[in-house]
């Protein structure tokens, strides 16, 4: 219990202070609701629009999860391939950087042409935005192993597969999870961007779709409610990665051990 209070206490306190200041600012400055709605009004709107927000949350959750899963698979596989050869790394890594710099909003309309609108296009946008941190970090982990350890295993007759399994893979895990923490949030952002540009409406509408929907109708309170739900989803993704990291590395890696700082 003490551990839980230590974990969520400080950020919860900051949240309360921010909400208090937000509420105070709205009252003191006398800002109209369409410029800056107060927290109470945003909460009321979230209740009124709960059906849309629930639908949006569910669809964005699905697209983000699929996008992150695809980014993880491709990112890890790509990193393993690139780590096997310097030549391959030099040939392909710059193109991975290019992929990272492609403006996802600009290419999203092309996805509609190629694979049709909706989930697949949205997932592709999420994938493009999320894949690079996983690939770059995992690759860094795979190639930055201690040469002495590799030499030691080689002296014992270990082959490439054994060295990969016993040295490179464990060494890359902290890097991989660092990438995952970054990409988890990016996958949600990518999904929302995709939904804004190429997402479907109605029962398949995601949170990004509702951001545009509410902004078009000048409903700033609904925009805020949608953003808050989107942010909550991003945080949930991040925490899921922290939890996964702790589960996998909690017993042996110093970053997960509770050491005094």
């Amino acid at each position: 219990m003490k551990r839980v209070v230590e974990l969520i206490g400080p950020p919860l306190l900051v949240l309360l202070i921010v909400v208090g200041l937000w509420s105070l600012a709205v009252r003191v400055l006398g800002l109209p609701a369409f410029v800056l709605p107060g927290p109470a009004r945003v909460f009321e709107t979230a209740i009124v629009e709960s059906e849309r927000l629930t639908t949006g949350f569910r669809n964005t959750l699905i697209a983000s999860t699929v996008g992150l899963a695809a980014a993880t698979l491709v990112g890890v596989f790509g990193a393993v391939i690139l780590s096997t050869s310097r030549v391959l790394e030099r040939a392909l890594y710059p193109w991975a950087v290019v992929l990272q710099t492609v403006p996802a909003v600009a290419v999203a309309p092309l996805f509609v042409l190629w694979v049709g609108p909706g989930l697949v296009s949205v997932v592709l946008v999420a994938f493009i935005i999320a894949v690079f941190p996983i690939l770059a970090n995992t690759l860094m982990g795979l190639v930055s192993t201690d040469p002495a350890l590799i030499d030691l295993l080689r002296m014992q007759g270990a082959g490439r597969v054994a060295i990969f399994r016993k040295i490179r893979l464990p060494n890359s895990l902290p890097y991989f999870f660092t990438g995952m923490r970054i990409s988890a949030g990016l996958a949600v952002i990518g999904t929302i961007v995709g939904e804004m540009v190429v997402g479907r409406g109605g029962a398949e509408a995601g949170l990004g779709y509702y951001v545009v929907f509410s902004a078009t109708q000048l409903k700033t309170d609904f925009v805020f409610a949608t953003i808050i739900v989107s942010t909550a989803l991003g945080i949930a993704f991040f925490l899921a990665m922290v939890g996964l990291s702790s589960l996998v590395m909690g017993r042996w890696h110093e970053s997960e051990l509770r050491l005094d700082r």
Partner: protein, 324 residues
């Protein structure tokens, strides 16, 4: 604070009455999109010096994606804005008091563009299509609510390319420009305006803050008269204004697109109301109907008294005939 503002407004009226400059400050106008013939009244007034004739210093700001003129006017970032009737009503529902003073289009050119081959000509036919539209468009939300149709919807990214490739798609468009672009790209479009689909409202509506109109009646009057004069000039002879927009304001707005738009605009800009009250005129029937339907569809959560949101008081009934 209120008193000095009122005194300044009164002073401005007196100065204007003496033929001096109405306002020291520039009158800024935020449009809804990149410059085109949809903003012809503004650019014609600028081209022919009708603002200057009335001692108005006017700055026209082009809109674009993400620009919401109602927000800019409400936050006093712009003096006037240009949008649809619906935007003023949406703002009123959020306690923002805007006043519409001039309607470029008597029937909004906004609507859905389908392929001729689809054979679709009404809202019921749209039910079987995939509709590519900016999320939250009022006319569409109202029509869906009233007819009960629930076609597949896709967020519109601003590009017509995907629509051109899919004969069973409808795409949001503007009757003045998009059908021409589509034909040029090889498609055979059929434009169904919101009015044809069952939702009539005004478009290219010029509005300002109610407080600004109260404090600067002469400026608003002069501004609206210049718009009327400019728009009448444009409708009588569109070519110079199209060339001006293309040459001086927005090179991406092609002459040929402007010519195609002008041929459509005559029908959309003139009505019985404009014949009697001058170009830009509006009537209570349309405003009340739009506001009531928006409320019924749940787009606005409280009823809005539309009668306070518009006026023909600044129009010159001779506006349509200034040039002719």
């Amino acid at each position: 604070m209120r008193r000095p503002v009122t005194l300044l407004a009164m002073l401005a009226i007196v100065v204007a009455a003496c033929g001096e400059k109405v306002e020291d400050d520039t009158i800024s106008v935020q449009t809804d999109w990149f410059a085109s013939t949809d903003h012809a009244a503004l650019y014609a007034a600028e081209l022919y010096g009708y603002f200057e004739d009335r001692n108005l210093d006017v700055e026209i700001r082009q809109g674009g994606p993400g620009i919401r003129a109602a927000n800019d006017v409400a936050t006093e970032t712009a003096t006037f804005g240009l949008a649809l009737t619906e935007n003023t009503i949406l703002a009123a529902a959020e306690d923002v008091e805007l006043l519409s003073v001039f309607a470029t289009y008597q029937e909004s050119p906004i609507g859905l563009m389908v392929h001729e081959s689809s054979g679709v000509s009404d809202i019921e036919g749209i039910a079987d299509l995939t509709v590519q539209i900016f999320p939250g468009q009022v006319f569409w939300e109202v029509l869906k609510h009233e007819t009960g149709i629930a076609p597949v919807e896709i967020a519109f990214d601003g590009s017509m390319t995907a629509w051109a490739e899919n004969p069973d798609w409808a795409v949001q468009g503007f009757a003045t420009t998009n059908p021409f672009d589509a034909r040029k790209a090889g498609a055979r479009p059929r434009m169904l305006t919101a009015t044809q689909l069952g939702f009539r409202s005004y478009a290219g509506v010029i509005f300002t803050r109610q407080s600004y109109a109260r404090e600067n009646p002469q400026a608003v009057q002069s501004f609206v008269e210049a718009l009327q004069q400019g728009f009448a000039e444009f409708l009588a002879d569109p070519e110079p204004v199209i060339e001006y927009i293309n040459d001086k304001v927005n090179a991406d707005f092609l002459i040929e697109v402007g010519e195609a738009a002008a041929s459509v605009m005559q029908d959309l800009a003139v009505s019985q109301d404009t014949e009697s009250s001058g170009l830009g005129a509006m009537n209570a029937g349309v405003w009340d109907d739009v506001a009531a339907r928006m409320f019924d569809a749940g787009i606005i959560r409280s009823e809005v008294d539309a009668s306070t949101l518009w006026t023909n008081a600044y129009l010159s009934s001779h506006g349509a005939r200034v040039i002719q």
